[in-house]
């Protein structure tokens, strides 16, 4: 019979590698795998939808500029956080986020519910020069966002990439009809990949996020994204004790 000897593990690199990986994976298996099996992981709430093409491009810029290194998007269920930032974040609210932006490093405030808290003008001014509106801020200036035209030529391809990881952007009429059922006609239009560029231009011009309708800047996209954060679920229609039961 095989007799385990520590020496055989220590003197065989390949075996040590496999053994190390097995030992490390236990943590992941115990903490992550059950979440896929447990029924009550994802809350059942209305309103959560995938991002529109413009918001999605804004999210790309958010990640490109490294906003996540200082800002989390995860309000934890504690009283102090609820008082400052609003209702705690739900798992359902980031189900279309790939990758999610939860984070745990807050040099700046949490942004999970920043949508609607400030005007578009404030966001533009704040992103160009944060100290001009918040004197004690240590956030750097991002003046190029308003000067750089948004490259949206590949927005359809970006949406197709997200589609492969499960975001229900539609390419066919059948998928579109499915989205109408799931999200309503108004949202379904925004999720249709063949119309992505047209939808992006339309939302940017109607929303006038950067205060200049004549062109679409990266600022338009980023502000559109910031303004939708945390606004999809109407918490006046959710009983707090129902959310308790999803933990």
């Amino acid at each position: 019979m095989f007799k385990f000897k520590h020496e055989s593990l220590e003197t065989n690199t390949g075996l040590l590698l496999v053994g190390t990986m097995l030992a490390i994976s236990i943590g992941g298996l115990v903490e992550i795998a059950p979440l896929f099996l447990i029924d009550d992981t994802m809350e059942k709430v209305d309103g959560v939808r995938p991002y529109t093409p413009l918001e999605q491009r804004g999210r790309d810029i958010y990640i490109r500029e490294g906003c996540y290194t200082c800002h989390s998007q995860m309000i934890r269920p504690f009283r102090d956080e609820q008082l400052r930032y609003g209702h705690y974040s739900l798992a359902a609210e980031s189900k279309y986020d790939h990758p999610f932006q939860w984070g745990s490093k807050r040099t700046g405030p949490d942004l999970a519910r920043v949508g609607g808290k400030y005007s578009n003008e404030w966001h533009v001014q704040h992103l160009i020069q944060p100290k001009s509106v918040v004197p004690e801020s240590v956030m750097p200036n991002y003046p190029w966002l308003i000067e750089t035209p948004l490259d949206y030529s590949d927005v359809g391809a970006r949406m197709r990439a997200l589609r492969t990881v499960g975001v229900p952007y539609s390419t066919t009429q059948a998928e579109y009809d499915q989205n109408v059922k799931e999200f309503g006609a108004e949202v379904a239009v925004q999720l249709h990949i063949p119309d992505a560029q047209r939808n992006l231009v339309k939302q940017a011009q109607e929303g006038n996020f950067d205060g200049d309708r004549s062109s679409i800047s990266e600022m338009d996209a980023l502000v559109a994204y910031l303004q939708v954060l945390g606004t999809m679920v109407d918490f006046s229609k959710v009983a707090p004790e129902d959310l308790v039961k999803f933990r």
Binding site: K5, H6, E7, V30, A33, P34, L37, I38, D39, D40, R76, P77, F78, R79, Q82, L83, R84, G86, Y88, G116, K117, Y118, S119, N120, E121, W122, Q125, H126, S132, V133, V134, P135, N208, G211, S236, A239, P240, E241, L243, V244, K245, F246, R247
Partner: protein, 306 residues
């Protein structure tokens, strides 16, 4: 592990030897450390029994701990311990503690709240926290505002009205200031004349001839400034048009300009470009009615109110 040996100092070794004489000592751990380790195992067992722990199939062990809170029907309800249930209980307990204060503020007319010293100090401390979290981003700490962007709340000048009801309306429903751009309707000389007139209204130095020409334009159909700003140029609070006859500047950075030319340029910019950015978000929904009332009182006190 096999053939364990003793070193010359009497310490046990693992028996591993490298380079002929490099040995691995096998000293026992300190006793306190060993018992500390056992204690963590006992702690883990207690933890597993009390808190939600192991996954089982499509569910998990809920643990013996529980939290009790009040549900939407007003009934007491218990659920196994979790952070959301704990938060709900704590929120309700805190609300119950603050209830006597908020109830008074909600039931009393604003004027009476300001006369009650105890309530006023509650408004000052609760209001300051709310203001810092929600309002100071734009209106700045202390409500000083920012010329060119956000109105000063600490002065005696109110764009939409400084009564309690008007301040409440502004906070709850938000505001959207708008002025059409005149760059196309008027030519450069006309905009220049209007700028001189507006400066003269505010007591600033201006070219008298141009100001007189601007005054005619102000009351003419071509520019029709009087339509929003009124015949007396004192503005209309119901639509939030600015009072042009005082020395308070919000959109045109006149106080920041070095000379008359700079002041004219600042006013010209507003007339030519118009305004579409004076947006204050609506706070109804984000803040509770009680919180909006506290903020109304706080903001009213900042500027002395009307």
């Amino acid at each position: 592990m096999a053939n364990e040996q003793q070193t010359s100092q009497g310490v046990q070794t693992t028996g591993h030897v490298w380079d002929g004489d490099l040995q691995e000592f096998n000293n026992p751990l300190p006793v306190w450390w060993t018992y500390g380790f056992y204690a963590t195992i006992v702690f883990a067992l207690v933890y597993w029994f009390y808190y939600p722990s192991w996954p089982v199939g499509s569910g998990f062990l809920k643990g013996m701990g529980s939290e009790t809170y009040v549900n939407a029907q007003g009934e007491e309800e218990s659920w196994h311990w979790n952070t959301r249930a704990k938060l709900l209980r704590e929120t309700q307990e805190a609300a119950a503690q603050q209830k006597p204060w908020f109830d008074k503020i909600a039931s009393l007319p604003y004027e009476q709240v300001t006369k009650d010293a105890e309530l006023s100090s509650f408004v000052q401390s609760a209001g300051r926290a709310l203001f810092s979290d929600n309002c100071a981003g734009c209106h700045q700490t202390g409500g000083a505002g920012k010329i060119g962007h956000y109105p000063n709340l600490a002065d005696d000048n109110w764009i939409y009205g400084g009564s309690f009801d008007k301040i409440h309306e502004t906070i709850a429903q938000g505001r959207h200031g708008y002025m059409p751009p005149y760059a196309e309707a008027l030519d450069a000389a006309q905009v220049d004349a209007l700028a001189h007139y507006v400066l003269s209204l505010g007591g600033e130095q201006a070219d008298a001839a141009k100001a007189a020409q601007g005054k005619d334009l102000f009351h003419s159909h071509a520019a029709a400034c009087y339509y929003c700003h009124g015949n007396d140029a004192k503005g209309r609070m119901d639509i939030g048009s600015a009072n042009l006859t005082d020395k308070v500047w919000l959109w045109a950075d006149v106080p920041g300009a070095a000379d008359t030319a700079g002041k004219v340029a600042a006013v010209r910019k507003v007339i030519a470009g118009g305004l579409d950015s004076g947006v204050m978000p609506a706070w109804e929904g984000r803040l509770s009615e009680e919180q909006i009332r506290v903020l109304t009182l706080y903001v009213h006190e900042l500027g002395g109110g009307k």
